[in-house]
Amino acid sequence: MHTLWILIIGSLVGVSCALVGCFLVLRRLAMLGDAISHAVLPGIVIAFMLTASRNTLPMLAGAGAFGVLTAWLTDVLIRRGQLQSDAAIGVTFTWLFAVGVILVSAFTGHVDLDVDCVLHGEILFVPFDTWTVGGVDIGPRAFWILTGVTLANLAVIGLGYKELKLCAFDAALAAAMGFNVALWHYLLMGLVALTTVAAFESVGAILVVAMLIVPANAAYLLTDRLSVMLLLAGLFGVLSAVGGYGLATLIDGSIAAAMAVFSGLLFLAAALLSPTHGALGYYLARRARHVSPRETMGSEPAINA
């Protein structure tokens, strides 16, 4: 039963992260996902400290506040401070993460949180933390939270599919057609923060980045359709969870880390074997071109100065 819960929770992490991850990847915001997942740490820690418990609502509020703070600080540094955007992101999230780590180190023992949890979560212990409603044990708390977040992600993507799609591929056109691009951007960032917090206990603040963008990138190499990409990314998320569990048992290490590694292996496989965008596909196509002299004459690119 314990194993089953770990697999289910891991899969839910994989699916919820992969869904929002697809839009991060398409909007070229992968590193912003990294920044947000780091920067919400002080919010989570402060919520832990204030409530002295793992209540979900304060945690979400704290993380949400710091997610917004990150976006705002980055924006201020770029606009008012005239700093280039990569450096603005780099300065902001490292600072907030450092503050978070210091808080964790200073209050270890007072709260049920330590540096290991920040780094790679404690998915092994998550199933023991169960919810009882009206005296009945209804299963791990993380399961219900992650189910909620996954459903929230699905709902937003389902309702705003057209808008999110247009914003992802052509934000200028979306703006010209009268869609509120900024609103959808912040909604997406909100979902990223929400998903990060929900996944935090299970996989920690850094490895969640892997779950956000690696399955999504693997799916990106296999299809040109957004709906298929979302499905594939979700599937890869589940596969990473299951495969990661296997890998972790095999070599006796952290399950969350093994999930990240397994997702990396999936990406590697996709990069090599994808029929349309894989290295093997490119290689075969190039060989095929060299075989046919008529095509070679036509396909030699002109010199692009």
Binding site: A30, L83, T94, L207, D252, V261
Partner: protein
Amino acid sequence: MNWLEFFQFGSVNVRTVTLGCMVIGLSAGVLGCFAFLRRRSLLGDALAHAALPGVCVAFMLTGTRDPLVIMLGAVVACWLGAVSIDAITRYTRCKEESALGMVLSVFFGVGILLLTHIQHTGGAAQAGLERFLFGQAAAMRPHDLRVLSIASVLMLAATAVGYRHFKLASFDPQFMDALNLPRRWASLAMATLLVLAVAIGLQAVGVVLMAAMLVTPAAAARYWTHHLSVMLALAGVFGAISGAIGAYISYLQAGMPTGPWMVVAVSLIFGVSVLFAPKQGLVARGLRARRFRQRTAEENLLRTLYRLGEDRKDWEQAHTSGSLIQYRPMDTAVLLRVMGRLERQGLVYEPEEGLFQLTAQGLERAARLTRLHRLWELYLTQKLNLPADHVHADAEEIEHILTPELEAHLVASLEEPARDPHARAIPEDKE
């Protein structure tokens, strides 16, 4: 009396730790500048995370925590990370930031997997490997310091040798190509030095926050100077100062990870730079903008006074604030405040309470401003064929910033004009 002991640097340990952190901050600060200038600040983040599996493998293979061995492992892993990023962007259609994020998180995953594996299986020898995550300066030994210092001196020497090429590659790679200089080698050398800076920083800062020691000092230094050499020096100094602060706090509070404190210290330096740097700081720029707004308001009122006197060619008469406001709508309180400033500068005086008149000096300034305004209007209508009723707003802005040189150009190209597009006389140049 813990803190006093620290500043006496009496014990070898304190000296070692402080110097070590300063050396690390210095080299990371200097070498981070190039990544910053090439807008690749987040590369340092990815490479630092990617170093972790190298540290673990080096330890698993040799069983020691000798800094040289660990550094070697870190360098190899960083290199693999850099190669992976390059391969992903080159051979797949994934974008660069996706490649950075994936290498960062997957390599880090491998590192954590190995680390937890070592923890679960290893004996007592593994203790202390986690300190490469967030840095633990207190564990630094004189031997570590020697290795760090030698590596750091070599890196700084390499930077000095390659300085001119690095500078070109950072600012104008195309020009470098045009001169047939080895751009790819310069990039490679810069990447190698970045990797080395990451590798030597691991012990004090740790892989997770190493990125900050590369980006933040450079970003802070950029606010103080426009010269690369000064920027490198400043970033190095900022890095070294935060290293000392991190070491100090880690000394006061045993068990506190050094890395986060170094990052907080350098972020504070950054915050001070953003706010108070003499030219580009927010405060200085705010003051400059405010002064400009004030001067604009003053000059607008001078011009209004000139315009009011122009109809009767009589500038010796005083005007009420009411007639000024009628001509240029504004709040009375604002008008009185601006007039107060003009009076203090001796450009306007009040013959009676509430009446304003230009002084001789003020008339001269007002005439010159009117002249610039009308020259510009004429230029726009004659040279750019704009209709006469469209040029006022534009002239309203440019009159405050036209220099005497531009004025001379305008006069020359308009052939000594006498009247503006609205048939008003252009005041003559007094000088």
